[in-house]
């Protein structure tokens, strides 16, 4: 089997989407492929975070232990990355992780990554571009959200919806957009109800702009 399908797969991960595909074979060389049975604990809260996991099949549940009970707050599925920043800093894991279903991952250890960076710094430069773009993109959406919120303050529901009606390439941003749209429709519904019951109250306008 050629290397191309693996490179194509790697490019599906948001972290590697924008980067020069020429550096990806080098990255593939230092990644390890691992399989875990469902239920395997991958790491615990407080562990030293020293590897990044790229989910290729199955999923990873991120949870916190609270006494005897567990609070699962997120699932990472195929094409998602767990602990991408563990490569860059040495902070402990902020939560625990468990395999859900038969889990197939690529593991990139920090040490391997840093050695690769020494041999081929260009990978780091490419990664830098990728992360910077993501920060920009996310910040841009947050700014749009802020503009939309200002419009809501002025009860301009239509323009607020317009501001936020876009599809995002990022799952988290997409979740933000849907949450916003749901919020607007819930508030509108409620406000109309109140209006029918009582006389409309004035919304305090933000006059500082």
């Amino acid at each position: 089997m050629g290397i191309q399908p693996l490179i194509d797969e790697l490019q599906q991960f948001p972290l590697f989407k924008g980067i020069d595909p020429q550096v990806l074979p080098g990255l593939l060389e230092v990644m390890e492929q691992r399989q875990y049975a469902s239920g395997t604990i991958l790491f615990n809260e407080g562990d030293q975070g020293d590897a990044m996991l790229l989910v290729r099949g199955g999923s990873i549940a991120i949870f916190l232990r609270d006494g005897d009970s567990e609070i699962v707050f997120r699932h990472y599925g195929t094409g998602e990355i767990v602990g991408e920043f563990a490569l860059l800093d040495d902070k402990p894991r902020s939560a625990s992780a468990r395999a859900v279903g038969h889990l197939n991952v690529w593991v990139l250890e920090r040490e391997n990554f840093q050695n690769l960076l020494k041999e081929r710094p260009i990978i780091g430069v490419e990664l830098m571009v990728g992360i910077a773009e993501r920060v920009r993109y996310t910040t841009d959406f947050l700014r749009r959200l802020h503009d939309a919120a200002e419009l809501l303050l002025h009860q301009d529901y239509e323009r607020a919806l317009q501001e936020m009606s876009a599809s995002a390439s990022d799952d988290e941003i997409q979740a933000l957009i849907s949450a916003f749209l749901e919020m607007v429709s819930a508030i509108r519904q409620r406000e109309t109800q109140y209006k029918r019951v009582t006389a409309p109250a004035r919304i305090e306008l933000d006059s500082r702009d």
Binding site: K118, M128, T139, H146, E172, L176
Partner: protein
Amino acid sequence: MTVTTLISYIIILAIPVFVIYILQAVDLFQTTRRRILLLSLGWGAVAFGLAYVANNTLLSLLVNQAGLDRAEALDQIRRFIAPVVEESIKALFLIFLIFQPTFRYPVDGAVYGFCIGIGFAVVENIFYVNNSPNVNLSLAVTRSLSTALMHGTATALVGLGLGRLRRTKNRFPLFAVVGIAAAVGAHIVYNNIVNSVDGIILLLLAIGFGVFGVTFIAYQMKAYLRDEKARMAQVLSSQGEGGVAEGEMKTIQRMGQIASGLISQLNESVGEENMALIRKLLITQANIGILKNNLSSGSTSPRLRKAWEEEVAEREKEFLEIRKQLKGSVYSFFQNVFGSEDEAMWKWVIDDLAKTDPTMIHTFDMFMFQTGMAADLTPEYIEQMAQRLKKIEIFREVDLANLENLGRSIKSIEYQPVEMLFDQGVSGDAMYLIESGGIDIFSVSNGVETFLRTFHPGQVVGDFAVLDGQPRSARARASKDAPLIVLEMQRVRFKMFIQSRPQVILAVLKALGEKARFTTATVQENVRTLKNLAQGNYAEVVALAKPAAVSVTQIDAAAVAPLTPEIEDADSEISSAVGRQLSETFAKLASALQQNTPASRSAGQGVS
């Protein structure tokens, strides 16, 4: 079969096995292939058969056509014609080999030639022992060894000459002629004395010939290395035209150009694995040279000087370590071709490596040295600039020595009022630190400018541009009241700087990663806020609204000398600001909505 012949056969057959073993063990450049060694041996055996037929054909021609006496004709053939015929037939396979892509090195020709000669000698020796039933053991053995040595050395000389021919196509093939003449001459001498001298003397003569062959090969190697050096110098100099005193733009452009072929040329000479090591050596040596230039240039701060000195020491250690991994023969190749005493050669090598593999060479330092940009900076200026950079979030984790180095490339530029710094949509190529005056930001739509805001002295505009070069989201002009003075860091210089410094890349990645973590957390936080708003949990939204958070940068900025007001408007800071604004706005929205709820109006309190 007598014991004598049996032992003779064993020895005769042991010779090629031994030779193959030795050749593989001492393989100079690990470029010879066992398969080709065996094919060469085989060709030697075939060549014997062909030469046998050719010699007999010539014999019958001489007897039948020229009317020579058979014994006399046989003697003539054995003494003069056979050496020429045999050497020619043996050489055929070599001629084929030197045109193969796997043939890299003239000495390879000698090695393959030696094998052909040995293959030839094996069959000839078997014939000899078979046809001389009464010969004693010592004569059989000495004669077999001598024949093998003579044939091997002779064909090795031919191989060496032909190998050289491949590289010197345009000149008179002197070495090829000398090699072939030596081979034929030695062969003729051998055939003339072989039956008239004692076995031991014959062996001594053959050994003498072998020593001559080895000496000749060694001399050839030296000549070859000299030629290689001249050739490399030519390859390199033809691209290094114009020297080093070129304009800045040209220098940068040239650094981006693609392969000159130096690396592929070297690959051909010593093989890929050795080349990888040689490249490391070249890169290390090049960086040592660049750092020494830095140290000699004078414009530096104490911290930066120390960092450079430490790196030189570290790289020198690294150089010795790589050298240890290189085989002696390859290292001597390296030394001969890239001798460090030849400065012009080194200039070309560094230039070439910078072009073909810019990621490992300190091109930034080279560029600074060549353009003399930092030549008259004071240590104080260098230190101050680093302190200012340190306050920008993306450089937070980078150590001061590196920031001092990077800061040397920053240029002060003056813009007249309303002059444009950059236009919306154009790829971002620089970051600006405002010294005095202001920068007005406009969004442009259908050719109409809408004023957005003004940046003031001490603030940073477009710091992400040096990282990703994304299109500018707005237009920037100098404010209209006064001239603008900015410190400009160009993306191209920043890239040059970091590409050979993994530790700086890692430091930037670390700060950037934290930024990404933060924006992701802000998104998640806002998803929660939106859900609370949707569910009418207004009180919770108000309660969770954060007061203006103290960002990490502000803490760091307080730790270093406050040269400028806090940098709040750099790209890297915008997300924190947006996060805070969002939190405030949603709190306002929540409290406004809260007042609208019937419960609030009747009870004067929010429900949760």
